[in-house]
Symmetry: C2
Subunit: 234 residues, 2 copies
Amino acid sequence: MNALLLSNSAGPAGYLTHAQSWLAEFASTLTGDGPALFVPFAGVTRSWDDYAQQVADALLPAGIATRGLHQEADPACALAEARLIVVGGGNTFQLLRELRRRGLLSLIAERVRAGQAGYVGWSAGANLAAPTICTTNDMPIVDPGGFDALDLVPFQINPHYTSAHPPEHRGETRDQRLAEFCAVNPQRLVLALPEGDALRLDARGLALLGPHEALLFQADRAPRPVAPGKISLT
Amino acid sequence: MNALLLSNSAGPAGYLTHAQSWLAEFASTLTGDGPALFVPFAGVTRSWDDYAQQVADALLPAGIATRGLHQEADPACALAEARLIVVGGGNTFQLLRELRRRGLLSLIAERVRAGQAGYVGWSAGANLAAPTICTTNDMPIVDPGGFDALDLVPFQINPHYTSAHPPEHRGETRDQRLAEFCAVNPQRLVLALPEGDALRLDARGLALLGPHEALLFQADRAPRPVAPGKISLT
């Protein structure tokens, strides 16, 4: 499997700017001449055409020329030939619903798991790579028809991880939400990725990229820091 | 219908302290001698017994003596006789799942809609009173088997409303999340309740209680402030 999972897209320096060197390294590993397809379905308050253009512009310097999956005459056929599948952020529930209602979810999972296509995802697109979307931060604005996702990695991902909390706010903190998830899903690990971080999964294994420690949440244990570099989650 | 929907339970002065006068007024409107039942199912990282005891202690000064629904030998039978149903906060997804899997959701909705039982809810319990739980802030830690809820009020509720956002955080703001909901659900209104506020619904209509303006979100319109007092949402 060949995947790059980013916590976030936008950073202080611009859109996907912080990820350019990772994207270029990733692009260098791709083989074949199938298309690089961008999945814009997580976008809610913007047009998918605009979203696809923004991403195409941002990935071109890394040597990746994407086209929008929503613009394909036969999306299933295009996915079956793709050498790369890129899934952008937005609302995770809408992303999952749109893929499921089009019958594309298992198609993507199978092609990526078989090593036939690479996978790049950020934010909602990183959530989608986990077994379920149960550790998304997004609002459940539509019913996705079940929470099962691509299951590319054997642990849950929480993107945009932060322990910041508005003073005096009585809603749950992120840590409390993740502890709730672990309490009712004790068999699952959750890797919480601070903004600026990413996961790289290839034949060599799993590595944490980026400037920050991630946090590993597990039932009945305090969260544990995970340092950048090669990691093993057990 | 006779309902009191609170944005939050805990405040600077203690647990449900800010709502004591509202709860006392509400209690004075209840008739009959059926039980006042507390639904603890939103509680995840605490025992339902502890949760029910905390709520019983907090409601007693207002003249309401609750017992935990989970402790009833026949919960459906107890609900069918209840003069009051109290639904506490925690995780909205777990709350909905536990009610649905026990077959209690429509029972509660029917009894409250018919005016046979009063309804008090806060946080997740206020979300539950809306047509769906699609405007909860909670993490989808379990699959509730569908997002439809009690539908006691004809609009969505967003509890713990705040426009605060950690600086430099790239995740969506609350306003962005609610705008996303409205974009894909243009037929729905969302009333966002800041902490400290509540809704009172009775034969006289709907009123906003509390110190703060609420915000009304609707597709294709800027959010509109709603002042405390009698309100009409159209």
